[in-house]
Symmetry: none
DNA sequence: AATGAATGAGTATTCATTCAT
DNA sequence: TATGAATGAATACTCATTCAT
């Protein structure tokens, strides 16, 4: 029983190690420009071992993306849900997004710029997941904003469009930050986005 | 002389034909999943001929991206420059961007989602150009906004950040539109963006 | 037109050259122990060229078998059909079989011993063809013998079984000849088989 | 001592279990399409354990073939030796051969069709054994027939060729039976072969 | 100029075998 | 003794590029 547990633990450790290295390498070079040998080498395993943890290159890639994305969405939602009022929720949304991006620059370089787009049919499920996740995330944001509208704090605009706008502001700041190296912390842009977005959206009681 | 001219004209025609077909195919499948034979076939030329117009696959790809982007930035600037006051300029910026995107969905699917990101070192120059173009475009937007700030029409915020914000709003609307099929015209979102952005940015004379 | 013809001719020549070399190598080592590089090398083409003539290793193998078998059955039938009476037909059947075997020892080593048996599902069609060809060949022999039965020259035994028996005698002689090196000509066994088959083995007292 | 005996007994049991499973799987898929993992799984042992019973895949395969063949030849000879006169001996030869084939269809499918032929050099010894066994078997048959010749019961033909002929008749019947599924018992062909072989095919006009 | 056959370097994947536990 | 995770050599196949015609 104990042995089984250790085996299990080791398996997960090894799997994670591979995923971490794969993330770095894929992020740096993109899917097609990476070889299994490269990943094997970087993660300290043999080529063959990679296939004990993942069904193949496609699977390794999609797994890496999938698990990281789940982590991201999970972290963001957890933090947002802990906040109570609307303003605080939006602040947390931006802050948690920025934090994840800052802590996972490599991965986000891959994801934000969408290197995930033109994968072969075999990865169709990944594309679907990405689209679904994105849509779900927008809905999550939308629901927050809807409450603001209902409570008459926000203007009665199309909530989906508002969510997309907020997401776009976050995203564009991140892209800008990632493209221009050696700038100030990404988080420093939080205030700016809050400012722009709330002014654009808050119902100004005369 | 005349003959030379015809040759020249033919050469350009052929070159364009190839670029157009290449654009469609690359947009549909991404760089790595396309073969030169495929492009040759689609454009009605032999494989060998492709190499008389372009140095290789990388060059064909980067040329296609580069020329299309130049076209896009050119169109947008031309229209914006024709506008006179700030609001009109911003309207044109959004409108011209949306128009190009609607008229070039395939290409933008490739570009917006960033399939262009992790190309091999050989394409380093493309990456540089993309980054430069993007930066230049932000500067272009920035300069418009700066005038608004100077004229005290806009709040004295960080102009670069404002430009990035506006760009982000445009981009996120486009992505949303591209991901959700069979929706209303992209252009219908123009008003919304104008609304959000200007409220967030205009200096509200008390 | 002429050019097309030459291309066509060259294509066939190259294809044949590859098939001939492949036959030798496959015969010597069996399907799985042969590499495409080996065949490419032996036939004087590059690896890539092999794939311009054949869809893959499986296809190259099955094509080689198929075409050679068709040749064999064709040669045998042609000669048998030229004969007129029953005895002569049987003589030709044995003779033509032996001749093909002697002239194609390598190939027959592969075929007679049945290395063709356990091929992957992809080659299911080959297996079917082999079985069909064999069955058809037995039927061909059977039809000859049936006439002999009808004309009361042969005993009214099960014609299918008789065909199988004759085929077995031919086959076993061939196997014996192939296994024991440096013996007399295979054809020298023709008389013996004719004798055994036509008259039987018992010494007819009286 | 007793413990040792039990160990020994267990070892043999395990070894046999593996051989039996290996036989089934090899027979179904051929040597190259079978993995050690597959055999390990089917026989209920770990991969590592297989290597305690056999030196490797080659060895496992050749051992399986060798032992089964020894069993076959042993069974046939034993039964033939129990018969007394020539006719009875030949009957037993055919009958025992057919019985083994019927009881070991899987294995014979592998062997009769000769999947054993083109094994790598490492298995050269197996090929040799197969050839030797075959030759020895023919000699065994030959010796029976020689007595028949000496006693003037059989015609003074080449005894080796007669043996090969008889073997060929048996073999071809078996192949035919194995290729055509769902037929009558193989043994039902015994009489026919006896008839053909002993009396011949020509209708002996009195 | 135009063609497309020929090239061969590059890579994902398999699986017999080993050996630390 | 038994296990099965780790290994890495081996190989079919692809496709950008060249060059003889």
């Amino acid at each position: 029983m104990e042995k089984l547990a250790r085996k299990e633990r080791e398996f997960r450790m090894h799997r994670m190690e591979i995923l971490e290295q794969a993330e770095k390498i894929f992020a740096a070079k993109g899917f097609h420009n990476v070889t299994m040998a490269e990943i094997a080498n970087a993660s300290g395993f043999s080529i063959g071992s990679l296939y004990q943890f993942f069904e193949g290159k496609d699977n390794l890639y999609t797994t890496m993306i999938t698990e990281k994305l789940d982590l991201m969405y999970g972290q963001i939602r957890e933090k947002v849900n802990m906040a109570e009022d609307l303003t605080e929720k939006i602040t947390m949304l931006i802050g948690a997004s920025f934090q994840f991006i800052e802590e996972n620059t490599d991965f986000c370089g891959l994801f934000l710029r969408g290197e995930t787009a033109p994968l072969s049919e075999l990865m169709a499920s990944l594309r679907q997941k990405l689209a679904d996740d994105h849509s779900q995330h927008l809905t999550f944001i939308e629901n927050i904003l809807k409450k603001g509208i209902k409570s008459r704090y926000l203007r009665p605009l199309n909530s989906r469009a508002m969510a997309a706008a907020l997401f776009g502001l976050i995203r564009s700041s991140a892209i800008d930050w990632m493209l221009l190296p050696a700038e100030e912390s990404l988080n420093s842009k939080k205030e700016f986005i809050m400012d722009i977005f709330l002014r654009g959206v808050i119902k100004h009681e005369k």
